[in-house]
Symmetry: C2
Subunit: 468 residues, 2 copies
C-alpha cells in the first residue's frame, strides 16, 4: 500500500532503448549530466530549497535488476540477450556531486551533477528527477510559509491530501527542515524524529450529544489540550469552550487553546478572541487551520497578529500554486567534449561545472557558474553589482565511484543537520528575496557566468551551429 | 526509496488521541463515515472518475500495529498501557461500501461508506483519504485528455515529475483505466501489464557529433521507431530525418514517425508535415510532447488534426490545474443516530446512504442520494427534469466484517475490468458534461435528494440547531 515493488524499473522505456543502443554502438565513455531548475519568467518563487538527496542516494545504492525485472524487460521483445546479461551485472559506478539538503538555491544553476559511463548516467534519469523534484518543490513551499510566519507555531497537517503516503512523509520532513515545528503525521514522526501535534476532529464533537461534554472528556484525558470550536457554530463553540475551561480549572485541568478550521478565519479569530478576553481567558490561544498557505498566513497575520500559529495542510503539501518544478536532467559533456541542447526555450549549459556563491557582510551577493576545473573563475566585473568579502563552492562530491561518501546512518540527526543548513542560508538571504510574489524587474537573484565558463558556452554553441 | 516503512502509522496524531478518548469513554458503537468530493463552484471539472479502491483495501487488510509502532506511540507520553494493549490487538472488522473503480462520479455523493465500531472507522481516516484522493484526481485528469483526443494515441510520460515513485505508477494505472494506450514507465508496465512506449531523448542525439548518425544507429536497432527531431533545430532535424528515412529504406528499415517536444507545437507540426510530405513521406507520422494537457490537446487538434498522438506528462500527472481534490471523510451516523456538521461552507449529509443513478436511452439523467435502507426513495417529481427508463445503485459492499468480498488476485486483469467500467460509463455521459471548463449555469449534473433522505437531512439539522 503506497509502496512500489520494482524501484529499479522506475525507468522510462526510452532510457533503456537508448542504453542498448549505447551498448551496441560502444558509447561507453564518461558522460556528465546536470540536474537544474529552469528559469521561467513569472514563477512565484524568489528562491528554492534543495532537498531529496537522501532518497537519490538510497536509490543509487540499491539499483540493480532482479531476475524478475530482467524477465519483464526481455518479454518486451526489444532487447538482445547480450544486453540483458549486461543488465544482470549492472551497477552504478560513477561520481555524484551535489548541493547539500536544506540549502537555498536558484534556477539555472546545477544542483546535482552526475559523472559516469554514459549508460549508467542515462538510466537513472527518471528516478533522479522524481526523487529530487517533489522534495525541492515541497521544501520551497514550506520555506515560504516559514518566511511570513513571524515566529508563530507552524504544523504540517497535509498528510491526507499528499499524492502518496511517501509524499506525505517527505512533506513533513521538508516542512521540518524549513522551520516548521512539527507534523500531525505519526509515520513521519517515527521515522525522522519530528515532533507530532494534534487536536481533535469535528467527528469527535459530533459523536457527543453535547459539545461541552465532548470538550470536557477530551480535556480530562489530555491536560493542556486545544479544543476545536467550529463544528456547529464558532461563537457558540467558543462560549462552550469558555464554560468548560472555567469548570475544569477547579480540577486543575488546563486548556491551552482553541482551533478554528472554517469560515472567515480573520473574523472568526477576532470574535473568538473577544469572547475569550471578556471571560478573562487572555492566556488561551487561537490556532488556525483550513486552506492555509503562505499568502493566507501573511494576510491573516497582517489583519490579526494575536494568534498562536497555523496548521498548514493541503495547499503546502501539493504546492498548489506551483504543483511541479520545471526541472531537468541534461547531458552537458560526453567523452570530454561539452554538449549543449538548443531546443527553443530549453537551451542547456555545456560542460562540467560548479557554483560559487559570493557573500558580503553575511548576505548572498550572487552565484557564479564556473567550470569544474577552475574555482578561480569570476564574472566580468561589469556584471557584479557589488563587491564581496567571501565565497563558497556549493557542489560537493557525495558519491565516489559508486560509493557513498557519507552515508546517512541516523535519519533523525541528519534532518536536524539539514534544518540547521537551511537556517544558516535563510539568515544570509537578502531582503529583496523575502517576498512572496514572482521577482519584479531588478529583483531576481543574479546567477552569473564566470568568464571562462562563458567562453566554453559560446564556443560550444558556435561549434554546434556550424555543424547543423 | 520511495517507500514508507510503517504504513499502519499513516495516522494524524488526533485520530489516535480521539481513539483513546473513545476507548476510555466507551464510545465503541457503530459509526458511519462517508468519503465524498465537495461541490465547489468554479472547479474545472464536470465529472470525476473514481479510483484507488484497490489501494484502500490493501491498506485495510494489512492494518496492524507492530511492537515497534507501539513503542513509538508509547514514547509520545499521551497514551495509557490499557489503550496500547488494545492497539496491539487492533484489527479492522467493519464493512465498507464503495463505487467501482473506473466509474464516473460527481461531487456531493458518497463514494465510499465505512460502517464500523467508531475507533476503527476513525483510525483509517488519514490513509483512506490519501489512498483515494490522488487516484481520483489523476484518473479524472487523464479522462479529460481522453475526452478531447479524437481517438489519437495517448501515452503517459509523467513519471519523472509525479510527487513520488508510487504516484507515477498510480498515474500510469489511472491513465490506462481512462483510455490512454500506454505509459513510458516500466515499473507500471510490469505491475499492471500496461503497454509501454518510448522513443529517444535529446541526450541521445547530443552524444553523437552528427544528428543523422544518431538517427541511423537508433533506427537500425529498433525497426519502426520514432525519431526526436528538435534537439538543435526542428526544420533541420526533420530534414535530417528525411535523409535517414530514405537511406534506410534500402535496408528495409522503416521509421514510423517523428516526435517534436518544444517550441510552438502547432507551427512546428505544420512545418514538419510539409517537409515530410514534400519528400513523399505522407505515411511518417508526427507525435507531440512537452507541456501537453487536455486544453492543449483540444487546441492543437483544432488547429492541426493530422497528428498521430501525444505524450502527456507532468501537467496530467500532477493534475496541474487542480492539484488536489476538495474531498473529505466525515461522520454521518453514530449509534444509529444521523450526525451532521454545520461548519461554514463545510456542511455534511447525515445518515447511512447510497446513490441511485437514473438513465434514459443509455444516458445518465441524474444521481439521487437515498437512505441506505430504502432503494425505492425518489426525489420530488418537480426536481426531475426528465423521465428515466432504468436505474442502478452505485455503492456495493467490498469489505464485510473486515473480510474483502472480492480480492484483486490479478492486477493486470483487474485494470482491464476498470478500463471497461470507465468506457461503459463514458458512453453514457451526457454531451453537456463532455466539455473542459467548469460547468456553466444549468450545466451541472444533477445530484438530487430522495424525499426520505431529504426528510432525514432536515430533521437532523433541526435537532442540532435546537441543541446548540
Amino acid at each position: 500500500m503506497g509502496n512500489i515493488s520494482s524501484p529499479s524499473l522506475f525507468i522510462d522505456l526510452y532510457e533503456l532503448t537508448m542504453m542498448q543502443s549505447y551498448f551496441f554502438n560502444n558509447k561507453n565513455d564518461i558522460a556528465v549530466f546536470d540536474f537544474f531548475i529552469r528559469d521561467r519568467e513569472g514563477t512565484p518563487r524568489r528562491f528554492y530549497v534543495f532537498a531529496g538527496l537522501e532518497f537519490l542516494i538510497e536509490f543509487i545504492e540499491n539499483l540493480k535488476f532482479s531476475e524478475e525485472d530482467i524477465k519483464y524487460i526481455s518479454e518486451l521483445g526489444l532487447f538482445k540477450d547480450e544486453f540483458l546479461d549486461y543488465l544482470r551485472n549492472f551497477k552504478f559506478e560513477g561520481d555524484i556531486f551535489s548541493v547539500e539538503e536544506g540549502r537555498i538555491v536558484f534556477p539555472g544553476e546545477p544542483l546535482v551533477e552526475v559523472v559516469a559511463p554514459l549508460p549508467q548516467a542515462q538510466i537513472i534519469e527518471t528516478a533522479l528527477i522524481n526523487l529530487l523534484q517533489f522534495p525541492i518543490l515541497s521544501a520551497t513551499k514550506f520555506a515560504r510559509c516559514f518566511l511570513v510566519s513571524r515566529g508563530k507555531l507552524l504544523v504540517d497537517f497535509g498528510a491526507r491530501r499528499a499524492h502518496s503516503l511517501w509524499s506525505a512523509e517527505v512533506a513533513a520532513r521538508c516542512a521540518y527542515i524549513t522551520g516548521f515545528h512539527g507534523t500531525s503525521l505519526l509515520s513521519a514522526g517515527k521515522k525522522y524524529g519530528i515532533p507530532v501535534y494534534g487536536t481533535m476532529a469535528h467527528s469527535y464533537i459530533m459523536i457527543y450529544e453535547d459539545e461541552k461534554q465532548a470538550f470536557e472528556d477530551f480535556a480530562k484525558l489530555y491536560n493542556g489540550t486545544v479544543l476545536l470550536v467550529d463544528t456547529y457554530d464558532v461563537e457558540k463553540g467558543v462560549k462552550n469552550a469558555v464554560e468548560v475551561i472555567q469548570k475544569l480549572k477547579d480540577y486543575r485541568i488546563k486548556i491551552r487553546g482553541i482551533r478554528i478550521d472554517s469560515g472567515d478565519l480573520i473574523e472568526n479569530s477576532k470574535k473568538a478572541r473577544r469572547i475569550l478576553d471578556e471571560a478573562g481567558l487572555q492566556d488561551v490561544f487561537i490556532f488556525l487551520s483550513g486552506g492555509i498557505n503562505e499568502y493566507k498566513i501573511k494576510e491573516i497575520l497582517e489583519a490579526f497578529p494575536d494568534l498562536a500559529g497555523f496548521g498548514v495542510g493541503t495547499e503546502a503539501t501539493v504546492s498548489s500554486d506551483l504543483p511541479y518544478l520545471d526541472c531537468a536532467y541534461k547531458l552537458v559533456e560526453y567523452s570530454g567534449i561539452p554538449r549543449m541542447k538548443l531546443s527553443e526555450g530549453k537551451k542547456t549549459f555545456p560542460g562540467r561545472k560548479n557554483v560559487k556563491r559570493l557573500y558580503k557582510a553575511g548576505k548572498m551577493v550572487c552565484d557564479v557558474i564556473i567550470p569544474f576545473s577552475n574555482p578561480e573563475d569570476m564574472p566580468d566585473e561589469s556584471e557584479l553589482d557589488s563587491d564581496f568579502d567571501s565565497y563558497e563552492i556549493l557542489l560537493k562530491k557525495v558519491v565516489d565511484h559508486g560509493q557513498v561518501v557519507e552515508r546517512v546512518e541516523d535519519k533523525r540527526k541528519y534532518i536536524l543537520y539539514c534544518r540547521d543548513r537551511f537556517m544558516r542560508d535563510f539568515e544570509m538571504l537578502p531582503e529583496y528575496l523575502k517576498k512572496l510574489g514572482p521577482p519584479e524587474e531588478g529583483e531576481k537573484y543574479p546567477v552569473l557566468f564566470g568568464k571562462e565558463f562563458s567562453a566554453i558556452l559560446h564556443s560550444t554553441e558556435r561549434k554546434i551551429q556550424e555543424k547543423i
